[in-house]
Amino acid sequence: VSSEPIERRVSYLGDRLKASRCRICGKEYFEIRDYCGNCGRKSYGKMQSIDLFYDKGKLELCTLVNEPTNKFMKLQSFIYAIVSFHDGKIRVPGRLTDQILKKGEEVDLSELEGREVVPRFRRRHSVSESDVIPTISLAFTLADEYYPHQEYTIMQPRKEYENAGIVGYGVYTSRFRIKENGMERAVPFIDEDAVTAAVEAGKLALIHSGVDNALVGKVYVGTESNPYAVKPIASKVAQVLKLGEEDDDVQAVDAIDTEFACKAASSMFKDAAALVNYPKSGMKYAMVIGADNSQAAPRGCPGGELDLFVGYGGSAYIFGKHDVIAEIEGWYSCTSDTPDFWRRDSERYPLHGGRFTGDPAYFKHVRKATTKLMEKLDLKPSDVNYFVAHQPNPQFPVKIAKELGFKPDQYEVSLQVNKFGNTYSGCSPVGLAAVLDMAKPEERILITSYGSGAGSDSYLLRTTDQLVSKRQRQKVNIKYQAENPFIEYVDYSTYRRLKLGM
C-alpha cells in the first residue's frame, strides 16, 4: 500500500512541477527550496516559488526503456529522458508519453534529443486497485506533435456583461483513435483517465479564456468514470490547475464532483452561471468540466454493445460576467426516474437497458427539454443558428434534430461523435465547442444534453463579438484535434488495453 502522506507531497510537487528561483542570484531548483545553495542563509525567505506546468522543456538526452521496473510494466516500452527548462537552469528526469513503441522497432534517439517537449499531467505508475492513484507531470510529449505548447497569459477583463455566460472553453481528446464502422473514437493512452482529461480540458479553458486561475471560485467536475468510488476528483483538478487563491497549500475554491450519466457537466452550466451572477458570492468565475474515459464492457459481454460507441475526452467551460463569448439567455431542465443505463457500486462496467434507450429515454427527454425551452422563450427552429444535441451514437442526434424541425446546416456542425466517440459527460459540451469554434457574433445556439437515468438540460446561448477575438488564443480546438496528422490509430485489442489503464 502506498503511503498517503507521501502521495500527498509527491503529487503536490510533481503534478504542477513546482520549482524555486533564488531572487538574489537567479539559480533555479526543481521542487520547493527554502534557500539557495549558492547564496546560503541570506537567501532564506528570498526564494520565489515557480512552476513548470505551462512551460516547455528541451529533451536533452534520452534512452529506450524496454525492461521497465515493475510499476511501469504496463507501459511496455518507452523513452526515458533528461529534460531541461529555462535554458538548462533546471534539469529533471521524465518519460515520453503518448507513444506506442512497437516491438523490434528502431528508435532514433538522436532524432529526439534537442526537441521541445511539453509536460503532461498523467498517472504516474501502476498501483493495486485499492491504492490511491499516483499522478505526475514528469511525462512529456513532443511539442511539434499532437499537443503543441501554448502560453497561458492572464488577460485583464475589458467588459462586464449583463448576463453571465461562457468566458472560455477547452476540449481535450487524446492522440489515439480506433476506426471502426465508419466511426473514429478517441482512445486514452494507458496513463490517461477521466482525471487527466479533466485537468487537460481545464488547462485549455484557462489558456483560451485568459482568466486568472486564482479568480475561479468553484469547479464542478462531472464524470461517470471516476476511478474512485469514494474520493473527489475535483480536488485534484482544483489543485493541479491552482484554482482560487493558494494559501499555504490549500486552494480557496469550492470543488465538487457531479454525476448524472452524460449530463453531469451540462447540468451545472446554469449553476455556475447563477453563482457568478449572485451579487454576494464575490465569485468572478466558475468552471464546469465534463470528462470521461467512457466505460463499456468488452464486446460480447453484458453491456458490451456500448463498446461500439465509447470515446475518451473532456471539456471545460468557464462561466463569468466579464468578457463573455456566449451569454446564457435561458434554460429548461427535466428529469424522470428512467433506469436506461446504470452501474452498481461493485461492478466494473455499466449495463444498458436496451429497450429504454430510444423513445422513453433519450428522445422523450431531449424532446421535452428542447420544446419546453423553445416555448418558454417563444422560439421557432429558424430563430436559432445552431442546434446541439447529446450524441450517444451518430443516429440519435440527427433523428431528434429533424423531428424538432432543425435543418442539417443547423445541427451538422455539432456532430462530433463520429470523430471522438461518445465522451459521456464531455459529449454535448464537445458538440457545443465545435459550434463555438466557428460561430459568428450575435448567433443563437440551442444545446440539449441528455443523461441516462434520466434527464435533459436545454440552454439557449447568444454569442458576442468576443468569441472571435478570443479564438486565436486556442490552438487546440476541435478541428485541430479531429484532423491532426499525428493521430495514431490502434486496433481493438490495443484499444481495450489502453482503455483499461495502468
Partner: protein, 440 residues
C-alpha cells in the same frame, strides 16, 4: 616527508578540466584540500591481516548469516584470531532490511557472534572500512572486523525496483530503471567529446571488450559468479537483442555474497602476519542524488575528489598504483572511472581500452606503465552483491599485493604490485570511495 605535489596538481587539473561553475570549483578545491594530513597517526596505521569471502552468485539455500559466517571464518582462519579478539564490527549491507526483513542488523550479528562490542552498519564495505580506519588510526580500537553481506536474489522479481532506492525518487517516478543513467551517461559522453560515426563504433567495441576482459579475468577466480568466457559477439548480440547501446553483458549481475576483512593497527599486524597490507589512504565524497541535476553528466565528481584525497593521504603518486579494482556496475562506469581516477585524459579512456583490449594481455597501458584493472573479473563477472562488493575488491588487491592471487597473480618485472586501489560507489556515483592499499 610526503610529497603532496601530485595530489595538489591533480586537484588543480580536476578543477580546470571540468565545466564547473565558479561556485562548484571552489567547493571542489576545498574538498580536496580539506583532508587532514595524517603523518601524526603513523603509529596506528591501519593494516589488513586477513580477508575472506564467499563465492558470489545465487545462494538459494543459504540465509544471509550463513554467508557472513563463511566469509568471517575464512578470514579468522587466516589471521588466527578468534571472534573474541574483535573490539568492534563494521558491517555493510544495502538491502537486507528489504530483501530479508532484517532491520537492525547489528543485533542480528550480535546474536550470531555472541559479541556485545560496538557494531555499525553502513551501505558499502568501503564506507565500513573508512570508518574502521578512522577508529584504528585514532587509537580507539586495535582489532576490528570489516565486512559486508547482501542477499539480492531473495527478491529476484522486485530487486530492480529496490535498486531504484539508491536513486532520486523522481527518477523512479519518471520510469527510470537501474540501467538508464549508465545509458544516458554514455550518450552524454559521446556528445561532449564529439565521438561519432566510426569512432562511436570503436567506443562501443571498447566497452564490449571491457566486459570480455572482465569475464576473462574471472575464469581464474574460483569465487566469481561467472567463470565463463564471453566474446565481443556475445556482448554485441545482447545489445542488438535489447535494441539498446548497452545490453545484458554490459551490466553487473544481481548477486548474493559476503566478504570479511580483519583490520588491526600496524603493530598488531606485524605480530599476526609477515605480510600486512596497509590502508594508506581512504577517502569518500558525495554528489547529488538527482543525476539530471548534476553539473557534469559525463563523469563522477565524487570519484575525482576521493582519489585526490586518498592519494594525498597515502602520499604516493597515482602512477605508483599497479592494480586497481574499479566499480564496473556497467562497462561505461569502468571507462569513465579510468578518467575520473586520472589514469586517462577525459574523453580518451575508450581509446586506451580499445588499443589494449584488441590484443589483451591482462593489463591496460597508461602513462607508459602497466595497470591491472579488475583482476578478479570486476563487478561484471565476479558479481555485485552491493553490500559485500567492496570487500571482494579489497580481497583481490590484498591477494595481489601479497603475491597470493594464484593463477590471477599479476607481476611487474617479476614482482607483485606494491600499491593497489579500490574504487567503489553507493548509488550511481552518489557516494564515491577510493581506498589505497600498500605493502612494505
Amino acid at each position: 616527508m610526503y610529497d603532496f605535489s601530485h595530489a595538489e596538481a591533480l586537484a588543480e587539473r580536476i578543477c580546470n578540466s571540468c565545466n564547473f561553475s565558479k561556485h562548484l570549483k571552489a567547493v571542489l578545491k576545498k574538498c580536496i584540500c580539506y583532508q587532514k594530513e595524517v603523518t601524526t597517526l603513523m603509529q596506528n596505521r591501519p593494516a589488513i591481516v586477513a580477508v575472506g569471502r564467499t563465492k558470489f552468485g545465487e545462494h538459494y539455500g543459504k540465509e544471509p548469516e550463513k554467508l557472513i559466517e563463511e566469509a568471517w571464518l575464512a578470514a579468522s582462519r587466516e589471521s588466527g584470531l578468534e571472534r573474541k579478539a574483535l573490539e568492534a564490527c563494521y558491517i555493510s549491507d544495502c538491502f537486507l532490511p528489504i530483501t530479508n526483513k532484517l532491520g537492525l542488523e547489528e543485533g542480528f550479528l550480535s546474536e550470531l557472534t555472541e559479541l556485545h562490542v560496538p557494531m555499525e552498519v553502513t551501505r558499502s564495505v568501503s564506507a565500513a572500512l573508512l570508518t574502521a580506519c578512522h577508529a584504528i588510526s585514532s587509537g580507539v580500537y586495535s582489532t576490528v572486523l570489516v565486512g559486508g553481506i547482501e542477499k539480492m536474489t531473495d527478491r529476484w522479481d522486485k530487486i530492480r525496483d529496490d535498486l531504484m532506492l539508491l536513486e532520486d525518487p523522481w527518477s523512479y517516478y519518471a520510469g527510470g530503471t537501474p540501467e538508464v543513467n549508465h545509458e544516458l551517461m554514455l550518450r552524454a559522453y559521446a556528445k561532449k567529446y564529439g565521438i561519432k560515426g566510426e569512432d562511436l563504433s570503436k567506443l562501443n567495441l571498447a566497452l564490449a571488450e571491457v566486459a570480455v576482459k572482465n569475464h576473462a579475468h574471472a575464469l581464474k577466480n574460483e569465487y566469481a559468479q561467472f567463470q565463463r568466457r564471453i566474446t565481443v559477439e556475445h556482448v554485441l548480440s545482447a545489445r542488438a537483442q535489447s535494441q539498446k547501446p548497452l545490453g545484458l553483458y554490459d551490466f553487473a549481475p544481481i548477486s548474493d555474497g559476503a566478504s570479511a576483512v580483519i583490520l588491526t593497527n600496524e603493530n598488531i599486524a606485524k605480530k599476526l602476519t609477515s605480510k600486512p597490507v596497509y590502508v594508506l589512504g581512504c577517502a569518500s565524497a558525495t554528489d547529488f542524488l538527482n543525476f539530471p541535476g548534476r553539473a557534469d553528466l559525463t563523469h563522477f565528481v565524487a570519484t575525482r575528489i576521493a582519489i585526490a584525497n586518498a592519494l594525498k593521504m597515502a602520499g604516493i603518486n597515482l602512477w605508483d598504483i599497479q592494480v586497481a579494482e574499479l566499480y564496473d556496475q556497467s562497462t561505461v562506469m569502468e571507462m569513465v572511472t579510468m578518467e575520473d581516477l586520472g589514469f586517462c585524459e577525459e574523453g580518451t579512456a575508450w581509446q586506451c581500452i580499445r588499443g589494449k583490449c584488441e590484443s589483451y594481455d591482462g593489463f591496460y597501458e597508461v602513462n607508459g606503465k602497466k595497470l591491472f584493472v579488475n583482476t578478479n573479473g570486476g563487478l561484471k563477472a565476479d558479481g555485485n552483491p552491493l553490500g559485500a562488493t567492496g570487500g571482494a575488491q579489497v580481497f583481490e588487491v590484498f591477494r595481489q599485493l601479497r603475491d597470493e592471487a594464484g593463477e590471477r597473480q599479476v607481476k611487474t618485472a617479476g614482482e607483485a604490485p606494491k600499491y593497489g586501489c579500490t574504487q567503489e560507489f553507493e548509488g550511481f556515483g552518489t557516494k564515491g570511495y577510493v581506498t589505497i592499499l600498500g605493502r612494505d
